[in-house]
Symmetry: C2
Subunit: 247 residues, 2 copies
């Protein structure tokens, strides 16, 4: 925990492209600053850009006509937004909501598709990531169905923590309740329970992770399962191995 070196934001997918490719790719990207609460795309809407978070966090949310919402995946600098673009689709079936502010790289959809067509390496990489994403969404489905709120919340905090610099998460109970698909009051209870165990502390709009190991204990095994799948993916991509210890 704690970066003392000046922070250099990167996207791990792009990072694992070979030098040449990466340069070519980056040449067609621009850096944008993501704002909190921004909807990158709504279900059914056309996807304008492929987006690679550098130091921001996006929630992928499945919605119901009747208004129900549920986060099914989270994208930080380990991933990307715009997967349907590589599947020949123009539109997203999910909502994408900026949950953590910061910079991201983006590239127009058409341009991204060109790069995909021209670079087998890039395509291979994206495919791996897509495979991971599918696993994650499926996992999310079972997890949500079977695990009690407290464990799900612990998992959510860990996942967010993994994709955030520092130990402070800027989110409200209200927001969390939307992500987890439960009442705000329910989140308050669960949060207090977790706080009483000394795993987190919080005040008005910010949650501070105090005891990561404890949180892993409190969370369902889905957290570890997810992380393992991600690590496997990275290995297969044969990029410089990150240490298996996260943070």
């Amino acid at each position: 925990m704690g970066f003392t070196t000046p922070f250099l934001p990167t996207n791990r997918l792009i990072e694992s492209l070979p030098e040449e490719e990466r340069k070519r790719f980056l040449a067609d990207c621009e850096i944008v600053e993501m704002e909190f609460g921004q909807m990158l795309v709504e279900p059914g809407e056309i996807i304008s850009h492929a987006i690679f978070p550098l130091d921001c966090l996006v929630s992928l949310i499945a919605t119901l006509e009747s208004g129900g919402r549920l986060e099914v995946s989270m994208v930080g600098n380990e991933g990307m937004m715009g997967i349907p673009l590589m599947l020949g689709a123009q539109t997203s079936s999910l909502q994408a909501l900026i949950q953590g502010v910061g910079p991201a790289l983006r590239m127009s959809s058409a341009c991204f598709q060109d790069h995909l067509a021209q670079s087998p390496t890039l395509e291979r990489l994206m495919k791996r990531y897509l495979n991971f994403l599918m696993s994650q969404i499926s996992q999310s489905a079972v997890c949500t169905h079977y695990h009690p709120l407290e464990a799900r919340m612990a998992r959510w905090l860990l996942m967010t923590h993994d994709r955030t610099r520092g130990d402070q998460l800027r989110i409200t109970h209200e927001f969390l309740s939307n992500m987890l698909g439960v009442r705000r009051a329910g989140v308050t209870l669960a949060a207090k329970a977790i706080q009483n165990r000394g795993l987190i502390s919080y005040q008005r709009g910010r949650i501070i992770v105090q005891d990561r190991a404890g949180l892993e204990e409190a969370s369902c095994r889905c957290y570890v399962a997810d992380r393992n799948i991600y690590d496997q993916m990275l290995e297969q991509v044969a990029c410089p191995m990150h240490t298996s210890a996260h943070k």
Copy 2:
């Protein structure tokens, strides 16, 4: 409803390949008979074949270490098994369980990957399907979380009915309870409620769809949403349009 012409089983994906391609593809396929309860693949296991149901039905099930199971998608002759193969993965993260018996086409994984590499048409088709699958899994996740058992069950029956010839589904409450991730007793109650409404009837291991329209009424909108996404996909693939009326 009711096919009077002698039944010619086809797979709609393969069907929508152009003549030439299709022949080449079929030449490397073999027909196999699927048995009830057969596990095509377990999570983490290597995928040996790509499988294209002709007249059988497969459930894709997400599992938890702790034993929880939840069906996240269903594959009939409108789809295929072995999506990870086109994503550079060897293994499946889902369980695949034969739920409806009948014939299927299959092709070894390696061979399938060759075909993919050589036929852009095939690849485009598979990508579209994958896109649909992702939508379906996400939809499934929200649906399971928000909708009451009875509506989910109605949806499940409709989806199964769509992928089955005739109106008789050969499944037990027990089986259904596994798919929906609920107690068997719960299924019995929901089934009775639906039966009392005159939408289905059943005895020991078989459920008969009596009133499809009524079932759609009783099901959550997720059923229609799903079907729409699938129809959209077919349009994009620009294959001969099936009438929008199902069955």
